[in-house]
Symmetry: C2
DNA sequence: GCAATTTAGTTTCAGATGAAACGAAAGCCA
DNA sequence: TGGCTTTCGTTTCATCTGAAACTAAATTGC
């Protein structure tokens, strides 16, 4: 159990994400889905809900709800796309951009704290190993029959 | 975003745990909390609910509900501890032990598949790096004020 | 041109979650 | 002994979650 890697990774990640989630909640009054939506809108500019879902790896229900809250709190604007009226065009408002400008350095600080114990060479290793696992996890790595 | 490590780790872990969860669901009709309870009972023998909670890192509400389902499905037995009547003594039934004997090799196969792309030296590296991050995540690594 | 299908996004519903309140039993201590 | 506190485990409640159903708009095929 303690040496079963998927289990260890899962416990580790839950710890990390919970700590980060609490920190966003405290500082910005943002839930994790909200934070993710703001992060991609800030980085990639106006997007449809589907576009946000692809960039954030969240399903569209979650995106829909996060966007609804962000629109209600005035950090994201939503208008109907004139080209395709099923779509909405989502973008940060001025207030949203102001929050975004704080979010990015905050995220970097959190990352730096997490990695503080690793030497530069170890960070490169970690990056490589995670990339390999990502590639592995992209295709179904558990046989359907199992 | 794509290079923000906590985010990458979180997406990676969600992928992996979902794949594993689906596989347990398919093969054993077990949810993740149920699987964890069975794993520790199989490995450490009879335990109280608090004991299970400690070993699995789950909170006691989750343990309580997982145990209730396992008792209902006949894989775990529960009796009142005669020494301390607040406690229950949880153990695998014969049927539970039979399932457990399948679970362990299955978990090893899943792990092997996940790590299939890594050379032995890389596995050692991964183990070390994860251990370091675990140590880091054990103490609060995000400042309270942040 | 228009029925059938696909796509975007929301709503509904049923289950999972954990914080907080809870009852019951045990421990503590005067 | 008899109150006060702590511990065990369950229940309650409010929230989050995603699958499925749904509406509206666009696209496809005939």
């Amino acid at each position: 159990m303690e040496d079963f890697l998927p289990y260890r990774l899962s416990v580790l990640m839950l710890r990390i994400s919970n700590a980060i989630a609490r920190s966003y909640e405290r500082r910005f009054r943002l839930t994790v889905p909200e934070w993710r939506v703001m992060a991609v809108l800030g980085r990639f500019g106006p997007l449809s809900a589907v576009g946000v879902a692809e960039k954030t790896q969240m399903d569209k229900v979650r995106v829909s709800r996060a966007v609804a809250r962000l629109v209600a709190s005035g950090r994201v604007s939503r208008r109907v796309d004139p080209v395709d009226r099923r779509r909405s065009v989502l973008a940060l408002t001025a207030e949203g951009r102001a929050v975004h400008r704080e979010i990015v350095p905050h995220a970097r600080r959190v990352e730096a704290r997490l990695l503080a114990g690793l030497a530069p060479a170890e960070r490169v290793q970690l990056d490589r190993l995670v990339a390999k696992l990502e590639a592995r996890a992209e295709t179904p790595f558990v046989a359907e029959a199992e």
